[in-house]
């Protein structure tokens, strides 16, 4: 099986879908001729032509607006927002249109739109190239939210998203594009080629939306994580020696609450990790669900390890980032609590 990094895996997902389905079109700022500022759409315009893979004006709201219209026609648009930090101008079309069209028309019209956006810190992008705004979308009924943590899932989930008849917000942790990132910025990047989940089939396959994955089985504490933080959690477990069960959520909405509950019922303890700001982050929903479903199994407070409640500061990226040390301390607290 070919080894792919996450950029290649995502590219392959679009390649496969453009090849299979003439209704798939791909567009966004710089995605056409250039192939995207992160090269995720590299070569696709050359292969499928400018009518199917094209550059769009710098207007995220317009990009989503036309995507909804194309979806209503019957296409499966895949729109890129260049950074998750720039998704806000598209908020109205996402919330008021994409997420509501099927409901308000009682199923007459719908918008099978996939919105891809790189998220998270780790590239010294400062506060406007590092954000993780997923919780603004997981609150919106009608939207699905997906965040992969590795090339294999990235491709399978993106294919599922494109084939999905509901709008999907698909966040790509940019720090993982080139290699698994265990939270230690000082270490040289490791290649996805050396990671089992960097083995990615070239052909069509799906990873289902709504199903979590056990990234590490363990007995002492359940760690709920997604995206970059899966790898940080794995590093923290290894470094602390805490026998953590690390669950890679993969999809935030619909949430695989059964998998979560099964694990927490087993371990009796839970640590939630995300890079997004703490207050009102998706970790809050996870904590609420866990205590609702597993109250009588819980032996310690559910811990949240998250980005601080500040914008992502350029100079303090690594003090902001919830790294293995912070996660490790939470693992200890949770297992000792």
């Amino acid at each position: 099986m070919p080894a792919m990094n996450m950029v290649q895996a995502l590219n392959s997902a679009m390649d496969v879908m453009l090849g299979r389905d003439p209704d798939v079109v791909v567009f966004g700022e710089d995605v056409g001729y250039f192939g995207g500022v992160f090269r995720v759409t590299d070569g696709l315009q050359r292969k499928y032509g400018a009518q199917r893979v094209f550059d769009a004006p710098i207007a995220e709201g317009g990009i989503l607006g036309i995507a909804v219209g194309m979806g209503a026609y019957g296409l499966r648009p895949v729109a890129e927002v260049q950074f998750a930090d720039y998704i806000y101008p598209a908020m109205d079309q996402l919330v008021s249109a994409a997420a509501r069209l099927r409901y308000r028309s009682a199923g007459e019209w719908w918008a099978p739109v996939t919105v891809r956006a790189p998220c998270g810190g780790g590239i010294f992008g400062g506060q406007t190239h590092s954000q993780s705004p997923e919780a603004l979308f997981t609150h919106v009924c009608g939207l699905k939210t997906v965040i992969p943590s590795n090339p294999y899932d990235a491709k399978g989930l993106l294919i599922s998203a494109i084939e999905d008849d509901d709008p999907v917000v698909f966040f790509e942790p940019k720090r993982l594009y080139q290699g698994p990132f265990d939270g230690h910025p000082e270490r040289p990047a490791v290649s996805w080629a050396k990671h089992p989940l960097g083995a990615v089939p070239g052909e069509h396959y799906r990873v289902p939306i709504g199903a979590a994955r056990v990234a590490r089985a363990g007995a002492d504490v359940t760690v709920l994580a997604y995206g970059t933080m899966v790898h940080v959690a794995l590093a923290a477990a290894q470094e602390t020696g805490v026998d953590a069960e690390v669950i890679d959520l993969r999809t935030l909405r619909p949430l695989d609450a059964d998998a979560i509950a099964a694990s927490v019922e087993k371990t009796g303890r839970c640590v939630i990790v995300h890079e997004a700001t703490r207050t009102g982050g998706f970790g809050a929903e996870l904590a609420a669900v866990v205590q609702e479903r597993c109250f009588y199994s819980l032996e310690a407070p559910i811990e949240r390890v998250t980005g601080w409640d500040t914008p992502y500061p350029h100079a303090f990226e690594w003090q902001y980032f919830p790294g293995p040390a912070r996660v490790g301390r939470a693992l200890r607290r949770a297992t000792e609590g």
């Binding site: 079109v25 009518q51 004006p57 207007a59 036309i66 194309m70 249109a97 099927r102 308000r104």
Partner: protein, 412 residues
Amino acid sequence: MDRSPVLRLHIPEPKHRPGEAADFSHLRLPRAGSVERPPVDSGAFAMRDLAYALIRVLDDEGTAVGPWDPQLDADTLRRGLRAMALTRAYDERMYRVQRQGKTSFYMRSTGEEAVAVGQACALERDDVVFPTYRQSGLLIARDWPLVDMMCQVYSNSADRLKGRQMPVLYSSRAAGFFSLSGNLGTQLSQAVGWAMASAYKGDHRIAAAWTGEGATAEPDFHHALTFASVYHAPVILNVVNNQWAISCYQGIAGGDESTFAARGIGYGVPALRVDGNDFLATCAVTRWAAERARSNLGPTLIELFTYRATAHSTADDPSRYRPADEWEKWPLGDPIRRLKDHLVGRGEWSEAQHEAMRKEVEEQVRAANREAEAKGTLDRGPLPPVASMFEDVYREMPAELRRQRDELLGGR
């Protein structure tokens, strides 16, 4: 540098407020027939003066004159007249049932019937329209059953939208009528996307979208013009300038500084400005734009100059913010009367026929309403099954929603 005079903030004000007499003498209304009709492949720059003109076909005597006369046969005109009359009768009835408490809300398009009906006349039945709440006439012109529309207004057991939407926020895929949104403007860029998809697929169908002049300030208007221009989308973008946006006169949207049609020029989108109360003119400009779109020449922006004759909605009281006699004084008249006069002048219609038709459409509306009320009203039901509330959020109901539905049904 000379720094006087000191700066001051300008707040636009309409010419007249309640208690004063309306006066439209400041309007520059070109003679009917006086505006040229450029070829459909003209560029936005070349034909830019049309954005400041006013295309009129019917003159003061009701005669069709000039290059924009669409030369419609009398049957077509009688059909249009009837659709306009039916729209008005429908509006009046629905307004009344709202007042009787049978539903929550209603919005009329009185005085603006030549917009939706006249433009529908220029479109093919399978072109898809992306309207606002004031183009119900599109459905009526496309012969969509009144009963179906009424069931939506009542949110009743036969409402295809399952009671989810406020009255008048219709949807009819079968009629090529896009689901109406309460969020102003959003349909504009969607229509462009739909049109781009149609072009991408080598289809024949074009799209048309409407906005009020007030909502042109929303970003989607800008996005629609930008994307339509860049990709030459086969779409017609219509601004219905009915002078008012709830309580705000059109100057609050920028209408004192320019026309709304003129917005198009800067994007390279050809723009036409038309007497919105002149059925022949609205049909003619729309035909021009449709031909343009179908010939891969791209989008057109049309401003339809008209007047909102009644309140914004049943929740509104216009006597609080505009002179009581504005509609009376409105110089472009009543679109129904004007088309009637034209047909009468051509010897194709008579006052008696008109009166008979008026009664007929009223009866048609009354009968439809009886049928619709039998299927339920908002105040008394029957309504759709309550569990349907959980459907269509997603194509398949996720587990958490099933749980919530069961919670509701189980009274837990």
